[in-house]
Symmetry: C2
Subunit: 334 residues, 2 copies
C-alpha cells in the first residue's frame, strides 16, 4: 500500500534516495540520521516493494512454476514441499500447476511470454514421451524432474536403480527367488531405470530375470489389477512382487485379495515410495522410502543455476539413501 514516494514525502527526501537506502546501495552512504528516518518510516508504513513494478523494471519475476500431473499423489506432495521450502529460502514464489491444465505448449509459453514466471519445474506424466516432452517445453527454461531429454541439460532425479535394487534385495534376503516386477510404462525413464535395478539385484543373486515376471502397465492404482492378473497367471507364478509405485501397490494388495491370494502368506508385496496410506492398508504395506523432499530442493537449485546462465548439470539425488519401511506385507520363506 505504501509506496516509495510516500516515504520520500514524509522524510523530506527524494524517492531515489529512499530506494537506495532501502536496497543498501553501497554507492550511497546516506547521513545516519536520514537513513534512520527512512528506515523507521518504511517499517512504520509497512512498506513492501511493489511486485509488478519490480518485475517490469527487471524483466524478472522471481516466480517459478511447478508442474505436476496430480496433486493428490503423495509422491508429488512431498516433492512440492521440498520445492516450496527451498524456493522460499531462495526468494522465489511458486506457481503450482497440474499438467492436466498445462497440457499443451501454449500454456507453458504463454506463462513465459506474459512474463509471469521465470522458469519451470516439470514433472511429466508417466506416459510422456521424449517427443511430447520436447514439444511441450519448447525453448522454455525448464528443469525436468525424473525425466530427461538428450542434449538438454537441467534435470534432477531420484536414484531409481537403487530403489528397485533395495526392494528386490530385501525380498531376496527373505528367501524369495521368484520375484515379479509390476512396473511403470516403458516410455517412462524412471520405469526403465527401476527395471535395471531390479535385474541387477536378481543377477547378483544368480537369478536370470524372466520376461514372464515383468509387467509395464503404469504407476496408477488402476493399472495394478491387469498387471497382477497377467503375472499371476503365468506358469510358475512369483512368490513376491516389487511394485514400482506405492499407489499401484495399494491396487496390487486389493486385487490380490480379490483373486484369493493372501498377502503376505501366499504373496509378498513391496512398494517403491512411501505414503501415509501404506500404514492403513491390510496388511500394512512394506515400502522403500525415497528422498522426494530433497529432490524438490535440488530441483529448485538446478533451476536457479539455469536461470543464472550457468548450465545446470544433471543430478541424481543420492544424499539420502533409499530407506526400507518394514510393515507386514512381506513374508520370509526361510
Amino acid at each position: 500500500m505504501a509506496r516509495l514516494v510516500d516515504i520520500a514525502e514524509l522524510a523530506g527526501v527524494s524517492v531515489g534516495l529512499v530506494s537506495r537506502v532501502l536496497n543498501d546501495d553501497p554507492a550511497t552512504r546516506a547521513t545516519p540520521e536520514t537513513r534512520e528516518r527512512i528506515m523507521r518510516l518504511a517499517s512504520e508504513l509497512g512498506y513492501r516493494p511493489h511486485y509488478a513494478a519490480r518485475a517490469l523494471k527487471f524483466a524478472r519475476t522471481n516466480t517459478i512454476a511447478l508442474v505436476v500431473p496430480d496433486l493428490t499423489n503423495a509422491f508429488f506432495a512431498e516433492l512440492t514441499r521440498g520445492v516450496e521450502d527451498e524456493s522460499r529460502r531462495l526468494g522465489y514464489t511458486v506457481l503450482l500447476g497440474r499438467s492436466e491444465s498445462l497440457t499443451d505448449q501454449t500454456q507453458i509459453s504463454r506463462l513465459l511470454d506474459e512474463g509471469r514466471v521465470d522458469g519451470f519445474l516439470l514433472q511429466g506424466r508417466d506416459d510422456e514421451t521424449t517427443q511430447s516432452l520436447t514439444r511441450l517445453i519448447g525453448r522454455a527454461p525448464v528443469v525436468l524432474i525424473n525425466s530427461r531429454i538428450e542434449n538438454r541439460p537441467g534435470n534432477v532425479m531420484i536414484d531409481d536403480r537403487a530403489a528397485a535394487r533395495t526392494a528386490t534385495e530385501y525380498l531376496l534376503e527373505r528367501g524369495h527367488r521368484k520375484i515379479g516386477l509390476i512396473n511403470g510404462l516403458p516410455t517412462s525413464l524412471t520405469a526403465r531405470r527401476r527395471e535395471e535395478g531390479y535385474k541387477e539385484a536378481l543377477q547378483a543373486a544368480g537369478i536370470s530375470p524372466s520376461a514372464d515376471r515383468i509387467t509395464r502397465l503404469g504407476y496408477e492404482v488402476s493399472s495394478a489389477a491387469p498387471a497382477v492378473d497377467w503375472v499371476m497367471s503365468r506358469r510358475d507364478p512369483p512368490s513376491a512382487l516389487v511394485v514400482a509405485n506405492v499407489n499401484a501397490a495399494l491396487g496390487v494388495l486389493t486385487h490380490a485379495r480379490h483373486l484369493g491370494h493372501r498377502v503376505p502368506k501366499d504373496l509378498s508385496v513391496i512398494g517403491i515410495h512411501d505414503a501415509w496410506t501404506a500404514d492403513h492398508t491390510w496388511p500394512p504395506l512394506t515400502t522403500v522410502r525415497m528422498p522426494l523432499y530433497e529432490l524438490g530442493i535440488r530441483a529448485v537449485a538446478a533451476l536457479k543455476d539455469r536461470l543464472s546462465g550457468c548450465d545446470a548439470t544433471d543430478h541424481i539425488v543420492r544424499s539420502v539413501p533409499p530407506q526400507l519401511i518394514e510393515r507386514e506385507s512381506v513374508a520370509s520363506l526361510t
Copy 2:
C-alpha cells in the same frame, strides 16, 4: 517476448492503435485492412500482453491465492481442482499455498501489499479458532471456505448437516441403533454442524444422542486411534460409527482391526467425504461423497464478487446432494 511497439513498427502504425485494436476498443473502428495486418502480426509474433505492465497499470493482478492446510489430503485436492477450473474460466491465475507456510498474518498481508494477489481463498485448519482466523486475515479480501467469522461476509461451505444426516440415516436404515460419532475438533464449525446433522437423524428416529457415543478429537488419521479407544470402551459400545472425515475413517478401520473388532461384522464404519483410497482399505470403506469440486467453483465466484465490490453472500453448496458410495464397511443388522 513481442511487445506492442514491435507490432506497431512492423505494421507501420502507432502503439496506441495496436493496443486499441487488440483490445477491441469500440471507440476505434480501424480500417479493416490495418486491423487485419495488426491481428496477423500479433498472432505471428505470438504477442501476449505483459503481465507486470498490466498489473502496474490497473493495480490489479487477476491472481488469487488458495491457501489450504495440506495438499496431500484428497479433500483439498478436489477442492483445488474446482478452484483452478473456475479460475481459468474467469481469467484468474491461482497461487497455491499451504497454510503451514502462510501461517502468520505477515505472509498474507505481504502478498497483498506487494501486489502479488488480489485476494484469498482460505481453507483454515481444523484447530483454527475465530480469533486466530480473524488475526490471520486482517483486512484482506478473503473468502473463507468451510468456516465463518461473525459479521464478516464472504464464505462458502458444504452442507455438513446433510452429510452427517445422510450417513447416520444410512446406518439407521440398516438397523443400527447404537451409533457413535467420531468427530473433528470442537473449534471447527464444520464439526459442530456435522454433529447437528448426526443428532437430527438420531432424534428423528426416536433415539436420544448420548455423550458417551461422541468424540471430538480431530479429522486426521492420527486422531482416530484414541477416539476409537475411548468410544469402544464405554459401557454398551456402539455397533456403528459415523466418522466425520474419510482420512480419520482409514485410521478407524486400522485401529478397530488392531483392537480385534471385525469390520463390518462387529462394527460398521461410514466416512464423510470420498477418496480413491477408500477403495483400497479392507474392507473397502463406505462413504458419503460431498461436492468439493463445486465448492471450489463457488468459492472463486464468491471471491470475484467480493473483489468487484458487491458483498458476497454466504453460501452453502447444495446443488449436488450428498451421495452414498456403498462399499463393504457397513453391515445390516436386520
